[in-house]
């Protein structure tokens, strides 16, 4: 069976500023030849510290940044260049939860309108009417447990935990096969983190989703994932079963990461 996501030797290079941009090999390679696959219904946790290239890799999967080398395949389909219309169809199968849920929503659109928007963008020939789109969006918002009275609010009027629920609803409204969650618990109080993770697990079971969870929190990756890939300086330095990586880390860098997570609890 084709994996939902297959990344082969993907490279992302950001151009240098000014004249150096035109020099051969200028700029910085943030992702240097990463190969990964996410099997159907499985969760891959991608861990690493800031600057390791995790987010750039996620953006590369969606074609949001220029890929200077390699191939991204979503459900077996790939696109050739940044202008390839293929990206549009690939993105339909991928839901994205961005790092900052409030910033990722349009401040001038109500919650309900924001969740309905992907249905208009990706409607295709069988496009729904506006009223139907809003009904589908409302059902999804209810499904993720957001109270109805919040539907007409704007992003700045809801709490961090509620904003995550909206981000989940927006990511799921097209019924994608893969959801990329970039730091799903960052900036949340510990008392709310569990709620969001439970919601993700619940949705995975309900819609048979595959997840790519990007996090610098090894504990989150360990408890959410089937497999974990550790990223360091643009490369995958270790990949394996979640427990194996956490209990018996092979790479020196992973050992450091695992050591960090040890808490002195009395």
């Amino acid at each position: 069976m084709t994996p939902v996501l297959e990344i082969e030797d993907v490279r992302v290079r950001y151009p240098a500023r000014g004249l150096a941009r035109w020099r051969r090999g200028g700029g910085a390679e943030i992702v240097s030849g990463v190969s990964l696959r996410v099997a159907r219904g499985q969760t891959l946790g991608l861990v690493g510290e800031s600057g390791s290239g995790k987010t750039s890799l996620a953006r590369a999967v969606l074609g949001l940044v220029w890929i200077s080398g390699g191939v991204v395949r979503i459900d077996g389909r790939s696109a050739a260049g940044p202008r390839d219309r293929g990206w549009h169809f690939m993105r339909r199968d991928v839901g994205m939860m961005f790092q900052d849920p409030v910033a990722s929503l349009d401040p001038r659109m109500s919650i309900l309108a924001s969740v309905a928007e992907p249905l208009a963008v990706h409607g295709g020939p069988g496009a729904l009417w506006r009223r139907e789109r809003w009904e589908v969006a409302a059902r999804m918002l209810e499904r993720v447990g957001l109270e109805r009275r919040l539907f007409d609010r704007y992003p700045h009027q809801i709490s961090g935990g509620q904003a995550r629920r909206v981000a989940v609803a927006r990511a799921l409204v097209l019924r994608p096969k893969l959801v990329i969650a970039d730091e799903p618990t960052a900036g949340l109080d510990v008392s709310v983190q569990g709620e969001v993770l439970n919601l993700l697990l619940d949705m995975q079971a309900a819609f048979s989703l595959s997840y790519l969870i990007i996090t610098h929190n090894l504990a989150v990756a360990r408890h959410m994932s089937d497999r974990i890939a550790v990223m360091h300086r643009g490369r995958i330095v270790e990949e394996g079963g979640a427990e194996d990586v956490c209990v018996r880390p092979g790479h020196l860098y992973t050992r450091g990461l695992v050591g960090q997570e040890e808490r002195v609890l009395f």
């Binding site: 510290e49 935990g161 510990v190 709310v192 929190n217 408890h223 990461l257 808490r263």
Partner: protein, 321 residues
């Protein structure tokens, strides 16, 4: 002998807002002695930052205080603004959450570290630069002389936080308040900054207060911890006791939410605390944590929770173990 450095006596802070007064801190009483490191732990909206700003004398103009906040025996809010300002930057120093905005982006680091010492009388500019370079070395920044000539944007986040800590220490404070010092940093940098703050205990002739929502920071750094919720201290005690044998149901619930303390068990359901922090404008009948509490009994919804003391601390709860 341990002396009391900072004392809150039934201290409250409310903000004047268009709809009336909004209480942020309600009746906090606690003492901080020399040599102690107090962790203020709580969710957003618990009042921990307001309390920290109160001890740094940085409350905004619409804040009203009640009760007393005594620093070295003097009530800070009985002083005039000038008196409080003299404490700030000499006896009390602060490290803030965001090392990107704590420093002036268009002034070289050396100039800024010199300016931080403006309350130091009788030492010249060259001496202030020498002290600045020495302090940068002590907080683990290599080539301090070169760094002094650089601008903040030339440094990484962790380096900037080190500079901010150096700036705070240059004043020779008796009280160092760190407001969410690791929140804006990634895991490995945060770990280094926690280690550095731990080492700072030797450099601060006094006490430290660390505001955080991170249980790991409390466990690694603090001797005592005050768990805050809805403006009240719910539990206070030595870190080992509070984290090892918590008495308050809220503390227990918070600890249960900590993923890092979870075993590898197959159960894939995550602990969380249902509901949310109450709106401070609406008075809660009975215990403030009552509506979200797993251990609630009938009396919790009627009578405010009593303070149950024990050796070295207390819990504000009807059913505290």
């Amino acid at each position: 002998m341990s002396q009391v450095l900072l004392e809150f006596a039934d201290f409250s802070v409310s903000y004047r807002a268009p709809g009336g007064m909004v209480p942020a801190v309600r009746g906090v009483s606690l003492q901080l002695r020399r040599g102690e490191v107090l962790g203020l732990l709580g969710e957003s909206g618990s009042g921990k930052s307001t309390l920290a700003h109160a001890m740094m004398a940085l409350l905004p103009g619409n804040a009203m205080t009640a009760g007393a906040l005594r620093f070295e025996g003097r009530d800070m809010y009985a002083l005039d603004e000038g008196g409080r300002q003299r404490l700030r930057g000499s006896r009390i120093a602060a490290v803030f959450q965001d090392p990107f905005t704590a420093l002036n982006p268009v002034v070289r680091i050396g100039r800024q570290l010199e300016a931080f010492q403006h309350q130091m009388r009788g030492i010249g500019r060259a001496e202030k630069w020498r002290r600045a370079a020495e302090m940068l070395g002590r907080v683990g920044i290599g080539e301090p002389a070169r760094r002094l000539r650089q601008y903040p944007f030339e440094l990484s986040g962790g380096m900037r936080q080190r500079v901010a800590i150096a700036a705070a220490l240059l004043c020779g404070p008796a009280l160092l308040v760190a407001d969410e010092p690791t929140t804006a940093l990634d895991a490995s940098t945060a770990r280094q900054i926690v280690a550095l703050l731990g080492a700072c205990r030797a450099l601060v002739d006094g006490a430290m207060v660390v505001v955080t929502h991170d249980l790991g920071v409390v466990a690694r750094l603090c001797t005592h911890v005050a768990v805050m919720y809805a403006g009240q201290v719910m539990e206070l005690g030595e870190t080992a006791q509070v984290m090892g044998a918590p008495r308050h149901p809220y503390t227990r619930a918070l600890l249960a939410c900590d993923l890092a303390s979870r075993g590898p068990g197959p159960g894939r359901v995550f602990a969380h605390i249902a509901g949310h922090v109450p709106d401070p404008r609406i008075a809660v009948e009975g215990c403030v944590f009552g509506p979200r509490c797993a251990a609630r009994v009938d009396v919790c919804g009627v009578v405010g929770a009593p303070v149950v003391g024990h050796a070295g601390g207390f819990a504000r709860c009807h059913v505290a173990a």
